[in-house]
């Protein structure tokens, strides 16, 4: 080996804290979102006209009032769609762009107005006169089931062992049910698309989409043109959270249809209220379960059904309800288990992806079962949790027959239990509750195990494109989209690390279907796992060519070529990176490469409910302490401690932000965020005035968040890191469980509080009343 030592470390390599690549632009208002782009002259604006009924036949539509508005250019209806009136991502042709003949939810798009300004288009759209013939509607899951509504897609069943025997032979049995509310994404930037007509059949669309390739395909499908005619670009989104995985497609398609029809640029951006009523959300669930367990609280058998409010079409409800089942075990071994999904059709907006993708609902169900056992046996729920953790060598097979090979939950929980002083604080809280009659407190420690990979195996692939220019600057493009999670920063760090150049030498450019084709949604927490690997692969291809060139040009063995900080060491020679690249260009070395990656080891047979859908698991745990007011149901989170596993972090600062943000978003889902429909099937919580996401003053008063710095991914992921987008969302379950404990205190912790989610102050107070009545009734 050569004796020359590296001169320094590069700035911004992997495992380093680096600011978000757009941070300085965010704070100065210069980060450009689609609505901020300069519009070409003559840009038109489209606005959707929405159904005012939950379920009705459309008898007639009168556009006279719309056309009468000055500045209206035209109206788009199904007759203006040259291709297919469909944006179903499931390929089921059940997701019309514009409703035809009947409407199936309140807020369903029926037409679009195109006008000189957005204001005119929006005002004109409200002047339509529609005659409806009302049909019966079903909004709620159980209502739909009773009314005989169909499933939107084939359900899933996971089964292992002898369920009937397990239940029959258990020392204890109980059954229960729970409702888990949905959630609006409330990305701060609402949906938006901007389309520019091109030559022939071409169109370029700027879309706030997490899935540019699918948006490209859908636009092509609706226009009736091949994918090669459509280019979709997205530099950044103002938040996505799953809400822009499929829901952006309709807006992109409408903008594209209008752009082609009028041969002018067209922008479409709904108002916040319309965005909230017309686009899908997290699925609400009803969970019914039967449990058998021994006197130590160890589970013998579980039989549970997860029914989901899917809305009027399939969208992603299949994989979402599948993932609910995949996480109903959370960290616990179920010796005998049957889990079934019921993806029910309802007359509501079609529900869609949302951070965790059904996993959180499944996990809340699983944790409710643990809680029920604890209260039935009069034990600390944490003891029941520990008694049921997956084992290392036995008791380690999931309901879907995947062996858990990387279980670190016992270590995570043990460390957090000690660092948070859980036991002593729980004792203090029990004492407080004995002494105080109005305020009650609760504490809960809940674990998370979350499976990483798209369960649709084909999505687990990615591409990247890397160019090295003759001045040594590097252009990076990949299929992942930036929605705030810091993906561009992390992948750039990977490329910087591969070439051993400072991070500022790398520019990540806007995601576009024209540079990297056939990409997967930036979803399932997979962004850096997949795109980081693909980008590393592209860099490695270029480096291999460069190494070949260096060995030949400088006549040294290839083993003596090293990429060192901002230099290349060739034998005893140190060549500055830019100079080396210029020399390589002179020797006609190809300085560009397309990288590719596909996740190894995974496979999944849905029909049999068997396989290895996940490459690995990410873990974490949190402990939350709350206070509730038993006169009003109001509550506050006094403290939360988190220990979360991101493997060997690519960027600890960004990962910490993901954990903190996911926790608070999850807390909102389980506490104050309530979707409320009226009897007519209208969503009435459809703007921040009525739909309450957490504020700064809702976050835990003490908030101690740590990454498990000792964790290393046992699989060969990008630099041994782990995915971080979704798993920490479910850390918020500790808040719901802590509130439950505070409620349970009014009946001496012997009655399961069975608090439904979201635990609004109203639900908390009503649970307190219910438990008091039950206690007094005894």
């Amino acid at each position: 080996m050569n004796s020359i030592q590296p001169i320094a470390r590069i700035r911004g390599g992997v495992h380093e804290q680096q600011p978000h690549e757009s941070g300085h632009k965010h704070v100065s208002g210069s980060a450009e979102y689609i609505d901020d782009m300069p519009e070409p002259a003559d840009t038109l604006h489209a606005y959707l006209g929405l159904s005012q009924r939950a379920h009705a036949e459309i008898v007639s539509i009168d556009f006279e009032g719309v056309r009468a508005c000055a500045g209206v250019i035209g109206i788009l209806t199904v007759d203006d769609i040259p291709g297919h009136n469909d944006v179903s991502p499931a390929g089921k042709h059940d997701d019309p762009v514009f409703a035809v003949g009947k409407v199936e939810f309140h807020g369903q798009p029926m037409f679009a107005v195109v006008a000189e300004t957005r204001q005119i288009a929006r005002q004109a759209a409200s002047k339509v006169k529609v005659e409806y013939r009302d049909l019966d509607h079903a909004i709620d899951v159980l209502e739909a089931e009773k009314a005989g509504y169909p499933l939107v897609i084939d359900p899933l069943k996971l089964e292992r062992g002898d369920i009937a025997g397990g239940l029959a032979n258990a020392a204890n049995r109980l059954s229960g049910e729970m409702r888990i509310g949905g959630q609006d994404h409330f990305y701060l930037e609402g949906h938006i698309a901007f389309a520019m007509p091109g030559e022939d059949d071409e169109v370029t669309v700027y879309s706030s989409t997490q899935h540019p390739s699918e948006t490209q395909h859908m636009v092509g499908h609706v226009l009736g043109v091949p994918s090669n005619a459509v280019t979709v670009n997205v530099r950044r989104m103002g938040g996505g959270f799953g809400g822009k995985e499929t829901q952006a497609n309709l807006f992109a398609a409408v903008a594209a249809v209008a752009a082609k029809k009028y041969k002018r640029a067209v922008k479409i951006r709904p108002d916040r209220d319309d965005d909230m009523v017309a686009t899908g959300k997290r699925h609400d669930f009803h969970v019914a379960y039967e449990l058998g367990f021994d006197n130590a609280g160890r589970i013998e058998a579980v039989d549970a059904t997860f029914s989901a409010r899917c809305g009027f079409s399939a969208d992603l409800s299949g994989p979402v309800t599948d993932r609910a089942l995949f996480h109903a075990d959370n960290c616990y071994f179920y010796p005998n288990v049957r889990l079934r999904s019921r993806p029910l059709k309802t007359n509501t907006v079609s529900n869609t992806a949302f951070r965790g993708f059904g996993g959180p609902q499944g996990m809340v169900g699983g944790e409710r079962m643990i809680e029920d056992i604890a209260y039935a046996l009069g034990k600390d729920p944490l003891d029941i949790r520990k008694a049921n953790f997956y084992g290392d060598t036995d008791r380690n097979v999931t309901p879907y027959h995947q062996t858990v090979e990387d279980n670190i939950i016992p270590q995570i929980v043990a460390e957090l239990e000690a660092s948070s002083d859980y036991a002593a604080r729980r004792e203090a809280i029990l004492a407080f509750n004995r002494e105080n009659r109005i305020l009650k407190r609760g504490i809960a420690l809940t674990p998370v195990k979350f499976g990483i990979s798209f369960t649709k195996t084909e999505y687990n692939q990615a591409g990247a494109l890397v160019h090295v220019y003759t001045d040594g600057s590097i252009h990076l493009n990949h299929g992942g989209t930036e929605m705030g999670q810091g993906l561009y920063t992390k992948v750039a760090q990977v490329v910087a690390d591969e070439f051993q150049v400072d991070l500022d030498r790398i520019k990540v450019t806007a995601t576009t279907t024209a540079k990297v084709p056939n990409t997967s949604a930036t979803a399932a927490s997979s962004g850096s796992d997949l795109n980081g690997m693909a980008a590393a692969n592209a860099a490695q291809q270029i480096k291999a060519r460069l190494a070949d060139f260096a060995a030949e040009h400088y006549a040294v063995p290839k083993s003596e070529v090293f990429f060192e900080p901002n230099t290349v060491r060739i034998g005893n020679r140190l060549v500055p990176f830019a100079e080396f690249i210029r020399t390589a260009y002179g020797a006609r070395v190809q300085l560009s490469a397309a990288g590719f990656y596909k996740t190894p080891k995974i496979h999944w047979n849905r029909a049999e409910g068997r396989g290895r859908p996940f490459y690995y698991f990410a873990y974490g745990a949190s402990v939350s302490e709350v206070s509730i007011d038993t006169l009003t149901g109001e509550y506050q989170v006094d403290r939360t401690d988190i220990l979360h596993d991101v493997g060997k972090s690519l960027n600890p600062a960004l990962d910490l932000g993901q954990v903190e943000g996911a926790f608070v978003q999850g807390m909102g889902w389980l506490t104050t965020e309530e979707l409320w429909w009226d009897a007519k099937g209208r969503l009435r919580t459809h703007a921040p005035s009525t739909y309450k996401i957490p504020l700064a003053s809702d976050r835990p008063r003490q908030f101690n968040v740590k990454l498990a710095s000792w964790s290393v991914n046992r699989e060969e992921t990008i630099r041994r890191s782990k995915a971080v987008g979704e798993p920490p969302f479910m850390l918020a379950i500790s808040v719901l469980e802590a509130i439950s404990m505070a409620v349970a205190s009014v009946a001496e912790y012997r009655i399961a509080p069975r608090l439904d989610a979201p635990a609004t102050p109203e639900r908390v107070l009503m649970a307190v009343e219910r438990l008091r009545a039950a206690r007094n009734g005894k």
Partner: protein, 492 residues
């Protein structure tokens, strides 16, 4: 009266003077910035004053002092900006591109993720920092009640706000330019009536309160816009025509605060922020409620007069004002009358206000010796939420410990803010004890038949209203640990 007229709106936008002659009455500041001036750092998140992505600072001369306040550009009408200084996020960085300390702190603490809400947070924190360079966490949280972030969980933003306190004003543009801006704004305040457009598009900024009274008498159908935190939504959400419009937020004559032996008189145009110091001094029991009205931007714009005048059954201040025995001072032309607040609210959507009449001031009598008073707001989310139930209680006990007088009023329980007459009757003459409270709680249903909606069910409203009476009682007995307090841990 000899009133001179000007047909333009004049204000400062960052470092430029703006004069508009052709501007719609309902032109919002946000659309003006984004569409007209192409200043696109200010974002639209909700267009209803709840998310704060559009936060900008508006500076105005207040008794000769220049104060900057955070406001929501989405529901602020351009017409209301006459003689103001609008400061947007584009103005913060130095000419060489170096970031302002507030911006740099946000970068250094990784406080932005998707970045869409970020300019609004920067402006709110900038507004806070100007008034309070070393804020405590509770001050930071209060300043950020009107800013939603969906990505970060806020922890990093709080860290940014705490770290910026270490920075001094340095070459902050608004500090450096202060004297010049004051001079410019003074020059813009020419005492004329601003009158622009015709018919439905007409909007007027009266020269003074007398001019306003004359205008209202002559144009009784005009929409009065004070803080526009309610009327703004009529435009942005309901696309309602509201012209002709008369703006009042610039009228110093409506922003007077008088405290004397009788009590407080607050001009109808006094904002929540302006009223806070005097309210918290004279009625400390109102401080918490005051801090939970809207977000900071809404408190900076919204007025007590507007909150009363619009007659909402869920307005934050009327229950407390009714229980305190406040009066509404109404004016039509040169005629004035005083109406007890509880009589002002006649029915849902109907107030005791004649055509051409307007609310000029609110008078709140001082609490007398022996009067116990409290107000409790219940909402789904603690801050920046509309109350599901709001209860205000005032009782006087005699020397024997019996209730001598009681005034109890609720919002969210009926079509108007309303007194609990039967509950009061039950209490009066009885001993102030558990048994009396139980008895009074049992008669709530005689006073109220609340509705179920997305904020709360009828059952919850009724139950909570009763329980608030119990809370009031427990508060009066001094029993500990009966209220949540985010900033003081409960005593174990």
């Amino acid at each position: 009266m000899d009133i001179q007229i000007r047909n333009s709106i004049r204000f400062l936008l960052n470092d430029k003077a703006v004069e508009l002659t052709n501007v719609a009455a309902t032109q919002t500041l946000l659309d003006f910035l984004r569409l007209d001036r192409r200043l696109r750092g200010t974002k639209e998140g909700c267009a209803e004053g709840d998310c704060g992505a559009c936060t900008v600072l508006v500076g105005r001369l207040n008794h000769g002092q220049l104060t900057y306040e955070s406001v929501n550009a989405c529901i602020r009408f351009v017409g209301s900006l006459d003689a103001c200084h609008v400061v947007t996020v584009e103005a913060l960085a130095a000419a060489d591109g170096s970031l302002h300390p507030v911006q740099q702190a946000m970068v250094d603490t990784h406080a932005s993720q998707c970045g869409f809400c970020t300019p609004g947070f920067v402006m709110s924190l900038y507004g806070l920092w100007m008034h309070n360079p070393s804020p405590a966490v509770r001050d930071i949280e209060k300043a950020l009640q009107g800013n939603l972030c969906r990505c970060t969980g806020y922890a990093a933003i709080i860290r940014a706000a705490e770290s910026v306190s270490a920075c001094n004003a340095g070459n902050d543009p608004l500090v450096a330019e202060r004297a010049r801006v004051i001079e410019q704004l003074q020059a813009l305040k020419d005492g004329r009536r601003v009158d622009i457009g015709e018919g439905k598009q007409r909007h007027v900024l009266p020269a003074n309160v007398d001019d306003f009274a004359d205008f209202m008498e002559a144009n009784p159908s005009a929409t009065i816009v004070a803080g526009s935190t309610d009327v703004g939504l009529w435009v942005t959400k309901f696309m309602r025509e509201i012209g002709p419009v008369v703006f009042t937020s610039h009228l110093d004559g409506l922003r007077q605060i008088t405290a004397d032996n009788d009590g407080l008189t607050l001009g109808a145009g006094v904002s929540y922020t302006d009223a806070y110091p005097v309210i918290s001094e004279h009625f400390p029991q109102l401080s918490e409620l005051w801090n939970r009205i809207g977000g900071e931007q809404v408190r900076n714009m919204g007025t007590i007069g507007g909150n009363v005048a619009n007659g909402s059954p869920i307005g934050d201040t009327p229950p407390a004002l009714i229980a305190l025995g406040a009066h509404v001072l109404l004016r039509k032309g040169q005629n004035r009358r005083s109406v007890p607040m509880e009589q002002y609210f006649i029915a849902y959507g109907k107030q005791d206000r004649m055509a051409g009449e307007f609310v000029e001031a609110i008078h709140i009598p001082r609490l007398k010796q022996g009067e116990q008073f409290a107000v409790y707001k219940i909402s789904k989310r603690l801050d920046e939420d509309i109350s599901s139930v709001c209860g205000a209680f005032k009782v006087v006990l005699d020397t024997a410990g019996k209730v001598q007088a009681a005034a109890i009023a609720f919002g969210g329980m009926a079509g108007t803010p309303k007194r609990a007459a039967t509950v009061e009757e039950t209490l009066i003459g009885s001993s102030w004890n558990d048994e009396t409270i139980e008895r009074a709680m049992s008669v709530f249903a005689k006073d109220f038949t609340p509705l179920t909606d997305w904020r709360a069910s009828a059952d919850y409203r009724l139950l909570t209203a009763k329980n608030l009476l119990r809370r009031f009682y427990l508060d009066s007995t001094g029993e500990g640990n009966v209220r949540l307090n985010r900033y003081e841990a409960a005593v174990g």
